[in-house]
Amino acid sequence: MNGQIVAVYGSLVTAESQGRIVQNAIAFCERSDGARLLSEVVRVRGQRADLQVFEETRGLKVGDPVDFQENMLPAVLGPGLLGQIYDGLQNPLPRLAEDAGFFLKPGMYIHALETDTRWDFTPTATPGEKVQAGSTLGTVPERIFTHRIMVPFRWQGEFTVESVADPGAYTVEQEIAVLKDASGEAHPVTMQQEWPVKVALNCSRRRLMPKDPLVSRVRIIDSMFPVVRGGTYCIPGPFGAGKTVLQQITSRHAEIDIVIVAACGERAGEVVETIREFPELIDPRTGKSLMERTIIICNTSAMPVAAREASVYTAATLGEYYRQMGLDVLLLADSTSRWAQAMRELSGRLEEIPGEEAFPAYLESRIAAFYERAGQIELADGSVGSMTIGGTVSPAGGNFEEPVTQGTLKVVGAFHGLSRSRSDARRYPAIDPLDSWSKYTGIIEPRKVERIKDLLRRGNDVHQMMTVVGEEGTSIEDFVVALKADFFDNVFLQQDAFDEVDAATPAERQKFVFDKVLSVADMEFDFEDKEQARKTMVEISDLFRNLNYAATDSEEYKKTLSLIEEFIATRGRKA
């Protein structure tokens, strides 16, 4: 009880304290009915602190006590995170539902990890060994992974292992090791530890240049605008263009160890879909349910806005934690615009001088700092882990010239811009092949990708021209260029998310089909008229589309492929 409320305005509370106030530390506002509402210090002026409250502030009064803490908003790290569904403050939602029923209850917080689960601990450190923050003391099996139990990351300096627990089953609260610091003081270690979510967690030898392609099995991404492990990318797009579907497909098919889904300020229905479907979907790579490798952080649009800001940081911290185990993590944040809006709301209440569209002046640096948490690192033991961040952006009015999109484009390695016109034409995924870019090298040789991009650009030019002069005013050479561009678009860039086979194309198959498509695009024809040209391209498009729907090496697949090869061998001018 070291402070009291002096003002309440929306989610912002001002409190006065005679004691020490730590910026970004947490505090509890105590409502007269006894509920303790979690909040965070966001500004200090004299003895007054402005707090953003992570709950509805209804019922708080001037004079209500505030309990200031010294620590920053933490995430709890330890075995048992995988498969969990958390809110933005890392409360497990299933257990909240058990205790509170249909609705969330302000002031109700539940420990993020099950405290009575026992984990099979195998020690790897030996007494006398020198260790430091992040060093592995032992391991426990967590679902399909080996979970490393590490020296708490916030401990500074070198420690000597005094004792390590024998192999056996322990809860996350039991002591599994004792370490001695330089001054000889003993520190017990348990399997769980805390880390402040807003601080990047990185205990590594060095950061690496990310260059291993992250295969999402979405053709337009992997082949044209690739993402790498440890890289960053963004998906801006107007509503209805398919951002969330794209994120959902990626979360299912991406060839990666762990997926963290941060549903930030978006529709609850979409999270429900993931929650209900994932446990039933089998990950073909492991034969286990997809939920085994997934963590869901959901702060949907109806949940308190301040917690929305925290949710992306919570997600990033969990991702960094698993990266410390040498695993590859993919963090999908949907949508970063809602996170930015949460910052804007707070900034407005703090009466800060607004920047563009009333976003705070520090918007860009916050966005940059968030994406910088991605990266591939080499750990002390030489193993490599990575965290890739993919964020969707929901620009107002679908206009990319707005602060969040622009701030994001500056810092990401790949840009998958969704276009309204493509989604209206039902060309999914609606990633615009002319606007999008990637700084990474993927599974296809850049030289080949450039050739296809050039074809798409020329095809687009011809289409533009045709709207003016009509088909009859276009030369047959130009017309064929447009047809070839359409062909590539239809059979390679577009992908049916609802078809079992077409929804996910593995890397090998992508490379193979890409080469085939390229050979068709390179063919030269002697067409008599446009009708013949169109017919020919429709024929080959149809073959490729059937190929896309056929399971690899099925009868259908082989048959269609031989027809395609025959087409390539016999139909061009040089045949």
């Binding site: 409320i5 002096v6 003002a7 309440v8 305005y9 929306g10 007269s32 509805e56 502030t57 209804r58 019922g59 708080l60 009064k61 001037v62 004079g63 569904i85 939602l93 299933p94 909240l96 539902a97 509170a100 029923g101 249909f102 609705f103 969330l104 302000p106 107007p238 509503f239 209805g240 529709r267 609850a268 229905g269 999270v271 429900v272 879909e273 929650i275 209900r276 959901c298 949907t300 649009s301 109806a302 949940m303 308190p304 806005v305 809006q341 804007r344 709301e345 407005g348 209440r349 009466e351 607004p354 569209e357 009333a358 976003f359 107002a396 009015g397 679908g398 206009n399 209206d424 009509g470």
Partner: protein, 445 residues
Amino acid sequence: MRKYFDEIIRIAGNVVTVKAPGIGYDELAVITTDRGSSLAQVIRLEEDRVSLQIFSGTQGVSTGDRLRFLGRPMQVATGDDLLGRIFDGAGNPRDGRPEVKTELVDTCSPAVNPIKRRRPDTMVPTGIPMIDVFNSLVESQKLPIFSVAGEPYNELLARVGLQADADVIILGGMGLRHDDYLKFRETFEEGGVLGRTIMFIHTAADPVVECLLVPDLCLAVGEQFALEGKRVLTLLTDMTAFSDALKEIAIIMEQIPSNRGYPGDLYTQLARRYEKAVDFDGAGSMTLLACVTMPGDDVTHPVPDNTGYITEGQFYLRNGRIEPFGSLSRLKQQVNGETRDDHRAIMNACIQLYALCRESREKRDMGFEMSPWDERLLKYGDHFEEKIMDLAVNIPLFEALDRCWEILAECFEPAEIGIRHSIIEAHWPKPLAESGAEETAEAAA
């Protein structure tokens, strides 16, 4: 405990600031003036200064007036006694009948735990082919109707209310013209659903703060019915009026506006309301249909734009018809697989052909030559608009599907419509299209 305070130190817009210690945020008060009394809600606390928005507006409020704090947030009566009743934006009866005080609940309940939501899987039939066939409405969906002033969006809303088979219908009117309110009442009365309808009506002549309360009252009442296992349909019109009321209050409170004067938390404010649409796991559901008029027919205007990011699709109502392009029900995939085997095929084929028809029309308007295929598309487009798209068409889903088949058969050969053979064989209407030559000639002329 009741508390009285009378030291009013500021009156601006609809907001009054009074010196009063010990007041809770969001608490309700009654202000008594020469004109009578009105409810007021706390929107800011600063030391001993309390700012309240006065529901009936501040006209005539004097520095000598008195406020009585009620020690509780906004509440609304719920339960079966409300059925058939009409209230205003402050929850007072508008129909001349006595007040209802049963089962009071706080408005603005916390968010529903996502774990307690079901995946929606029940179609809501409306009798409107453009909805049932092409963008099915699904129980617990939240869907806006994007429209512009002058379009029959209220009529459309009333029709859905009449035809959707809901246990309870709740209508929230915001900034409604008085005639529209009477029209709604009349329609529901004629349709015989008034007995299971509850209305909260704020007309354009009423104080603006009451406009802000309408959705909260509707949703709190609806939520209670849903928790009791009822299937609730909530209709809100017009959410743009609601957003404008938000803007007005925000500007009086000197909030920094973000986009065209709207407050930065517009998205959050709208989402908190729309997200009340729910299918409870183990109780009833609430479906939410809202009208959003787009100022200047501009979908990038902050209100429709933010709405589109929140809702599960949208209907565009333009020229008295639901637009097939742009309109989208994000949940339709969850129900239209189980209605009839040809539902999805018809849905895709009809729209693709209609899109081609529009291209042909453009070509025709630009003076390009029409091929026989273009002629067929043009004919199809006219039939489709008249027999399916017209809002006056009121037929159940299966009949609508059959009608689509008839139109297709009349205009095209089976191979031209891009539907799988097995489905065509099962559904192609027997008397196949005769030669369409003469009609094509007509269309060309």
